[in-house]
Amino acid sequence: MKKTIKNTVLECVGIAVVGIVFGLVANGLHGRGVDLSRDYFPTGKIERPTTQPDPPIRHPGANTQPGSDTQPDEPPIDDPELKKAIEDILNDGLQVIRHDDVVALYQDPLYRGGGYVFVDARNTRLYRAGHIPGAYQLDHYYIEDYIDQVMPACQNAFKVVVYCSGGECEDSRFAALELGNRGLDPTRIYVYPGGMKAWRKANLPVERGERLSADIVDGQSLPGDGHE
């Protein structure tokens, strides 16, 4: 009996070791496997240059400490998920842009001319299901697939708005940090915490498929809420 238990445990350990080796090999051979050394969830790395003034843009009311750049007329944020997301964004040294300002940028002629760039940080399935018209995709988990196309557009823009699904989604924050860490001026980067959820709730236009596919529909006409 003792021998059986011992052998079973040894067999179990052996299978685990072989399974792990198999897993490492399979992950390495998998074209989109996990990079073991990469920090997929960067945090708090953006340092905003002190010589440059804060950009003239309003922040939502999550950061209400004295001396913050929150405007006094900002409505309070009731959604705890959104409030937490905004706090995380500000803690990482990033800037938050509110929904009305995103809409204003979208409607500005400069947006069509590349003066403002929107970056969608969701995966390909969600991006193709519907994104803000003209937004570039930047799935930060596979950043090398996108960065060569997105970075030049961002470097030529006055403002770069990064968004994901909205609420508890953190991909916009991570994508914004990646852009900042790769040399994009952080004073130009804004994270839109409302994301696709807020955009679609406002029934704003949504583009399906590839960027500039011209397949544009109303936000509320799409199924789902832009989340997984």
Partner: protein, 151 residues
């Protein structure tokens, strides 16, 4: 015993495949459990990279009938760990959001999509019973190899 083996093995192959084909989704799910440190990222990435393939490997061994006892013990250990992890995560959501425990409906990163937590716990207990049957059974019908030790 054969049915338990095939059901458990098939399910692990299915769940492992779903995770292995969406590795970054699984990485995000593992991160949400906050059981391993995020920084430095090596351990978190290692778990996300290997666990789905270990599940597939074990599932295949179980289906073809190789090293059944050791395999069943490994699956039972993993299932107990997963069940504890999922329960703790659901309790955290319950505390944070005030949602009744059994009304929690979320993607636990198990490879089976979004599920009700109480249903998930019951399913996992069922799988633990299947793994225990394989572990304790002496039947080796339709096994490719009776036992690795006899090689």
């Amino acid at each position: 015993m054969l049915l338990a083996r095939l059901a458990l093995g098939g399910l692990f192959i299915y769940m492992g495949y779903n995770k292995a084909t969406q590795p970054t989704d699984f990485l995000q799910a593992v991160r949400l459990y906050q059981m391993v440190p995020e920084h430095p990222p090596y351990l978190l990435n290692f778990i996300a990279a290997t666990l789905p393939w270990v599940e597939i490997f074990c599932g295949v061994l179980l289906v073809v009938g190789v090293a059944l006892r050791g395999n069943a013990l490994l699956l039972l250990t993993m299932l107990i760990g997963f069940t504890i992890g999922v329960t703790l995560r659901a309790m955290e959501i319950h505390r944070a959001e005030g949602t009744p425990f059994c009304a929690i409906y979320f993607d636990c990163g198990c490879g089976t999509g979004v599920e009700w937590i109480c249903g998930k716990i019951v399913k996992n207990i069922g799988l633990c019973i299947l793994a225990s049957i394989v572990l304790l059974s002496r039947s080796r019908w339709l096994c490719l190899q009776v036992n690795l030790r006899r090689r």
